[in-house]
């Protein structure tokens, strides 16, 4: 019997040793780089712009985008510039919606395809009106950059940036008006991340925080300090509600830990009783 089993195993193992190097593509992909290759299709815009045949300033675009908040949220070239990243021949075709780079004054509309609320508030602002009138004025890229766009925060508002065109006083007042609410938003984001590490996925609160934050920042683009001050209370109330939900979740987690500890002590106690009974019998 044992000889039969050993022989069968040897026979089974033999062909694999003889097939060294089989399936090179498997060797290359397996456990090193994702079989995600199946899921993530190649983006021709990136592969072409990152190639050696491009000028350095064009190559920098892909590097900048890869480090951006857009890249982290899978907002890719075609989402802003149009075109077809899967078809080399038609990748920059107008028929596939390719729009290329916008003119300086057209940038708000370009970004506003997605950031709709911000666009309307910006256009109502002094900045927007000046830009529309063809005067020297900032637009989205002036503050946020173009390809290396990072997550927005009030740290963008600096004397260095604003004083390029006007005094910093008004911008400073705006930053102060935003400060407490932004701080609260940052705290809540941290708490939600912490909850995720505790095993809870607070989807509803996360969505609520995201929309509150987006609306609040939309408001900022009017550059109207009084408007921001007037409506801050409304946003604070919404943030307080999220905070309450988070605290309630924490209380729930605390209860579950205490309850599990109670069960642990109960079973542990019963174990001790049984152990003592066993010893007594002996």
């Amino acid at each position: 019997m044992r000889y039969l089993i050993t022989f069968a195993m040897m026979l089974f193992l033999f062909p694999s040793t003889g097939a060294a190097g089989y399936k090179q593509e498997f060797e290359d992909e397996f456990l090193t780089k994702p079989w995600a290759g199946v899921q993530i299709e190649e983006n021709l815009c990136i592969s072409c712009h990152a190639s050696e045949k491009m000028k350095p300033e064009f190559r920098e675009i892909t590097e900048a985008w890869q480090a951006s908040w857009h890249a982290q949220n899978r907002i890719s070239c075609e989402n802003c510039h149009g075109g077809d990243p899967k078809d080399a021949a038609m990748s920059m075709s107008r028929q596939r919606g390719f729009v290329g780079s916008p003119q300086f004054q057209k940038v708000p509309e370009f970004c506003g395809k997605c950031h709709i609320g911000i666009l309307s508030n910006f256009l109502e602002s002094g900045h927007g009106k000046a830009l529309k009138a063809g005067r020297k004025a900032p637009q989205c890229v002036t503050c946020h950059g173009s390809h290396n766009i990072q997550r927005a925060s009030i740290d963008i508002i600096t004397e260095q940036l604003c004083a390029k065109c006007h005094s910093y006083e008004r911008a400073k007042l705006m930053k102060q008006a935003l400060f407490l609410t932004e701080k609260k938003i940052a705290q809540l984001e941290k708490s939600l991340q912490e909850l995720k590490r505790e095993g809870v996925y607070p989807e509803a609160d996360e969505k609520s925080l995201f929309s509150t934050q987006a609306e609040f920042r939309t408001l900022f683009h009017t550059v109207d300090v009084n408007l921001v001050k007037d409506r801050t209370g409304e946003f604070t109330a919404r943030l307080d509600q999220i905070d309450k939900n988070i605290q309630a979740t924490y209380r729930g987690l605390k209860f579950s830990k205490n309850f599990a500890a109670f069960l642990m002590l109960t079973f542990g106690g019963m174990g001790v009783v049984i152990f003592v009974m066993t010893r007594t019998k002996d």
Binding site: R2, I5, F26, W35, S256, K257, M264, F267, G268
Partner: protein
């Protein structure tokens, strides 16, 4: 009233004599130790999994659009849903540990030897089914961790030429892990594996009953003659009665099992829920660090180390076959592993390798 019910049952199935012969008069070898209760503990662990699994199934929705949400609802909205899910997850891992430990102790005590080859084979198959339970259940929450770990594991068969891709397709129900994979794994987890498990457990217990309990070789002469010439059930007329002596040991271990389980739930509730286990699956976002569950880490690491993947997978299958058929290969009469230096050395080497690969796989 109680006496009447008891009498009613007694005249129909003879319960008293059954208890007398199978519990009170049933004798256990005198030198049994606490490790003999691991088989019983595995049954308790399975029963706990079945109970909590049924509760979870009431609320769980096996669809990619709803699976993650339904699990979150179980954790946050269903009264004590978190408790059932934690017990099921922690219990699943403890169950695999117990079954592994059970096989390890049976191996060390040489209790797989004639006439218990079939008992060992059944136990080995039960271990494979237990791991399959773990693997199929891993995908069900549809998290980043479960999605990508399943992608890793279902990629392994593709190392085989000719049939590899076909096997992977059967497992996934397509080219990649998707809704059809979830349906298949769910069906496997709740309706294919449980009857298989019950069948094998029944056979395992039947073999144990028919061959009798084997005494530990330590500190006692093994009086079972090998090779066998005729069927003889091993009995222990001078042993302890099963009830209450051995039963108390089993109950003691059961309490210890639940104490450890609730200790983990109370103090390390996220032990089996790393950050990726709390994020919904995203087929377009590969996490930096993809690893299968701990019980598959050693084979996974071994596979990474062997350059020829086909050889790597085949080698692992051979090792599994070796484990299953070991009683047929080991025909030495000596049961005591301490008196068999070569086997002891090989065993310690394999154990050390397994531990090294496990920790290596984690890094």
């Amino acid at each position: 009233m109680w006496t009447k019910i008891r009498q009613w049952i007694e005249v129909r199935i003879g319960l008293d004599s059954l208890i007398q012969t199978q519990v009170a008069d049933f004798r256990i070898p005198k030198n049994t130790n606490i490790l003999y209760t691991l088989g019983f503990l595995a049954v308790i662990a399975y029963a706990t999994q079945a109970f909590t699994g049924i509760i979870l199934m009431v609320y769980y929705v096996p669809h990619p659009d709803h699976a993650f949400k339904s699990i979150q609802d179980i954790m946050t909205k269903v009264p004590y849903g978190w408790l059932f899910r934690e017990i099921h997850t922690v219990g699943g891992n403890l169950m695999i540990m117990i079954v592994m430990l059970h096989m390890l102790t049976v191996f060390l005590m040489g209790n797989y030897k004639q006439p218990r080859e079939l008992t060992w084979l059944g136990g080995g198959l039960l271990l494979i089914i237990t791991v399959a339970f773990g693997l199929s259940g891993y995908l069900l929450p549809w998290t980043q961790l479960s999605y990508w770990a399943t992608t890793v594991v279902t990629s392994i068969p593709t190392a085989f030429p000719v049939i590899g891709d076909f096997v992977a397709q059967i497992l996934r129900g397509g080219d990649r892990v998707a809704d059809s994979t979830l349906s298949r794994f769910f069906a496997l987890h709740v309706s294919i594996l449980p009857p298989l498990f019950l069948l094998l457990t029944g056979m395992h217990l039947f073999f144990i009953y028919r061959t009798g309990i084997s005494a530990t070789p330590f500190g006692r002469r093994d009086d079972e003659k090998r090779p066998l010439s005729a069927y003889k059930r091993k009995t222990h007329p001078d042993g302890y009665p099963y009830y209450p002596v051995f039963f108390q040991k089993q109950m003691y271990m059961t309490m210890a099992y639940f104490t450890i389980m609730f200790f983990i739930i109370a103090f390390f509730p996220t032990l089996y829920f790393p950050e990726e286990a709390n994020l919904p699956a995203d087929p377009f976002k590969t996490p930096h660090d993809i690893r299968p569950a701990w019980y598959l880490l050693a084979p996974y690491q071994l596979l990474k180390l062997i350059p020829n993947k086909f050889f790597g997978v085949t080698l692992q299958m051979i090792l599994v076959a070796l484990l299953l058929f070991w009683p047929f290969l080991d025909t030495q009469k000596e049961k005591n592993v301490l008196k068999r230096p070569v086997l002891r050395g090989v065993f310690l080497f394999l154990l050390a390798m397994w531990i090294v690969l496990l920790f290596w796989g984690r890094t």
